[in-house]
């Protein structure tokens, strides 16, 4: 039987020790996850995007001795690469290699992270890519992700989380190579480092790696002062106006339920019951897509889940001190947008009012207790979750979650529902064409009746009569329409 707890050789840093998560095994592959706990929340207020651009420059540039082309040429036959994931509190460099190539690969990885090349032409390319990721990738190509990032920006405004991780166009344009070097020197330190490795490496290899990373400065660099989001006093909405076929909504508000908090398991169970990405058993999915054909899917989360357009499940190493509860309504046809929003809120109302039944509670708990094995089925994921568990100060995630779930009762979950699930004081983001028109519609209490292309059971049509009139209680001063070109500018 696998026991992650037994496999993890972890040493929390004493002064001379680097935090290390090691999962040795007999696999012919070796996976690295090298985490610096200094992400976008550490960006200076006037330099959003600095952590992001620094990480991209390391993973997508050269080393002191090798140009970007030489690094690419060397990695090519190994079919390996170095990826960078940047979030508010963590920057993670990832890569895998076959044991045949371990020494050669590691030499490149070490060179990129410990002796970066800092070449001007690489900087220009990486900076262009970062600007285009906003102008084209986020604003132009992915309405769901755009809506979600606008939601996060609105909820965390005025705090270190309130700046988009990828920066703003105007800030990125101004950043210099010297800014990046300075961030690297102050934040890429031994205290911020967690080394993660899994697979068929030797103990000697690991010791050598730990010794190598001791060239980083000791100490912790400047840490951002963590700051909780402000209270939401009344519901507010940002409508992003762009030329698009349909309307994507994101809804959310802050919660005090990160992994290490007492309500985490209960609230995870609630969000799973409401619906997980691409799972057809969720309530929102059933009520909105299966019964009514409103869109492609509707989900709820209690942790940040970027890149959902392309991923089946959230990635590890996005650990945060603050999380939000969020509902994700995938794009709907414009004439049904108001009804879709009303329906999603009605489902939250119902859940708040009625809670879950014993059967629903037990089924969802059974699901999560087993699904956690699926979530951590790769060494890559297992390693990532193990690193997050260190950050949160909890036991290995599988064991932790199963133990927390085993202790839960229906009463615990229903209390959590009463405490956390609400439909007042919300933040909403929408991406649509004719933003002013949507604003006008949502401010009016006019009914938004649904018409269907097929007969519906009476239970649905009766329910619709109530949903179509549900007050949205949005005030004119709280709905802002922003042209897409202004977002993250």
């Amino acid at each position: 039987m696998r026991s992650a707890a037994l496999l993890i050789l972890m040493s929390i840093c004493a002064s001379a020790q680097i935090r290390t998560v090691a999962l040795p095994g007999k696999s012919p592959l070796v996976t690295f996850r090298i985490v610096f706990t200094a992400g976008a929340a550490s960006d200076p207020a006037d330099k959003p995007g600095l952590a992001y651009l620094t990480a991209q420059m390391l993973s997508d540039g050269g080393t002191k001795d090798l140009t970007y082309k030489q690094v690419s040429d060397a990695l090519f036959p190994m079919a390996s690469g170095v990826g960078a994931q940047v979030d508010k509190e963590m920057v993670t460099f990832t890569g895998s290699t076959h044991v045949d190539n371990l020494q050669a690969y590691y030499k490149l990885l070490k060179g990129l992270l410990l002796e970066p090349g800092w070449r001007e032409d690489d900087f220009r390319r990486v900076k262009d890519d970062a600007i285009n990721a906003i102008k084209v990738g986020l604003r132009g190509n992915n309405d769901e992700e755009l809506g979600k990032e606008v939601l996060y920006e609105s909820i965390y405004q005025g705090t270190p989380y309130g700046r988009f991780t990828g920066g703003t166009v105007s800030s990125l344009e101004k950043l210099t190579l010297e800014d990046l070097k300075s961030f690297y020197r102050s934040q890429y330190t031994q205290d911020h480092l967690i080394l993660g490795i899994a697979g068929g490496y030797t103990p000697k290899f690991l010791e050598a790696m730990k010794a190598d990373f001791k060239v980083l400065p000791e100490g912790g660099g400047l840490r951002p002062r963590m700051q909780a989001p402000k209270m939401i006093e009344s519901s507010r909405m940002t409508i992003v106006d762009k030329d698009t076929r349909s309307v994507a909504f994101s809804i959310g508000y802050p919660i005090d339920a990160i992994r290490s908090r007492p309500d985490y398991a209960a609230l995870l169970l609630v969000s799973s019951f409401l619906g997980q990405h691409r799972m057809s058993s969720g309530v929102l999915y059933d009520r909105m897509r299966e019964k009514r054909g409103l869109n492609y899917g509707d989900y709820a989360y209690i942790e940040y889940f970027p890149r959902g357009m392309y991923l089946m499940e959230p990635q590890p190493n996005l650990a945060r001190h603050y999380q939000i509860f969020q509902v994700w309504i995938r794009p709907v046809e414009p004439p049904t947008a108001k009804f879709a929003l009303r329906l999603a809120l009605s489902e939250l109302d119902k859940l708040h009012e009625n809670g879950m039944t014993q059967e629903q509670f037990e089924r969802t708990r059974e699901f999560l207790s087993k699904y956690v094995n699926v979530l951590t089925r790769t060494k890559r994921a297992e390693l990532g979750y193990a690193i997050d568990s260190i950050y949160y100060g909890i036991n290995p995630y599988n064991d932790y979650l199963k133990a927390q779930l085993a202790k839960l009762t229906l009463a615990d979950v229903n209390q959590a529902i009463k405490r956390y699930i609400r439909t007042d004081r919300l933040v909403i983001a929408a991406v649509t064409r004719n933003g002013e028109e949507l604003r006008k519609q949502l401010l009016s209490d006019d009914p938004s009746p649904m018409t269907y292309n097929s007969p519906k059971p009476e239970a649905i049509t009766e329910e619709d009569k109530v949903v179509e009139k549900r007050p949205l209680k949005l005030k004119p001063e709280n709905i802002q329409v922003r042209p897409v070109g202004e977002v993250f500018q």
Partner: protein, 449 residues
Amino acid sequence: MVPKLCLFLAGAALSFGAQPAKVFPYAYSQEDLPNGLRLITVPTDYANIVAVYIVVQTGSRNEVEPGLTGFAHLFEHLMFRGTAQFPSEKYNQSLNRIGAASNASTSDDYTVYHTTFSKEDLDSVLSMEADRFQHLKYAEPEFKTESLAVLGEYNKNSASPFSKLNEVIHDTAYERHTYKHTTMGFLKDIQDMPNQYEYSLKFFDRYYRPEYTTIVVVGDVKPKAVRAIVDKSWSEWKRGSYHPDIPVEPPQDAPRTANVDWPSPTLPIVAIAYKGPAYSDTTKDTAALDALAYLAFSNTSDLYQKLVVQEQKADSVSGNAPDNVDPGLFQITARVKKVADMDTVRDEILNTVQQFQQKPVDAAKLDTVRKRLRYQLALSMDNSDTIAAILSQYVALRRTPATINALYDQYGKLTPEDIQQAAAKYLVEKSRTIVTLTGPAATGAGGAK
């Protein structure tokens, strides 16, 4: 008689030294039931988890009637609508209790239904799958509702200019073959889907048959036990008789072009597609074009280095070789930073194609591609789920894992002259389609410095 083939190959801890081991290193069993259903079981060392991938050799390629595109993909949705024994709610709740990750996907040539779960639930999963493959039942109102979810999916994808570009490339490059439409189908056909309930029943009756289907089971399992479960729940499934008459694409006799006017700001895109061959593991064609895509257009290629790294006129360049049942497209795509550079980028790509036609590549470079292909496969097979996913792509083409090793044997035999010949044979002007995409303003960052 039940044909049975059991192969035992090298152990999993492979290494690629002077005498490369087989790239698909797992022992597997491959068995055909009397009704034509095929079962492939691959035991692995990854504990507890099992991945069941059910491959139906039906994709948008099989949509032969005009006005009825997108139905293979629609079934990917309808299959979750339940049966008399397991109505959709009960099916979903049962899967929920199992803690399974379950989904499906559709492509040009196949549809695959996959479920990943803990090994104790193998019997339940295979029985539930058997039930829906044999007894799917949905009424017209449910059908109409589900067709709207497909429109929702189209809407979700439509925010990306690459979706539209892909539609136009296929529509322009093909005249008669069903690769003319994408897997999503033409928008007008998706909008008409709610009116096609009767046709959907016909589509299911034609293609959801054992002779089109292969069950791939990978993970903490024993082949004999899997076979016993499959015999119990799948052997009553009746063989069908339908064979689609898929139109043969006539030879293209002149180059084609098209442009997409994208409504919102974006970076311009240049895409160049050539008619390639059908997938083959017995000739060098597929292997040579795969290698060519890497040599000419990957991030270490001279073209990429020039356009993306040095001159920085494009932010991406990529090349993809076809791996379809019927002749597919060899496609090169570049996203350009300035509209003014589009013609230059296009010409650079065309010059590169010409160079590969005119002289053989460096043998050492070809060796690095061979190495990469082998390591790439090895690196991706790091758990039962992805092993099953990779196998499914090949099973869709040849119904056996043996095709993976056969294809890699072809890579091993490639010579620089083979690459040159493949470029000269397939990347020719008269079978070329160039599609450009431009938005209202070139707003991106960068450009030639």
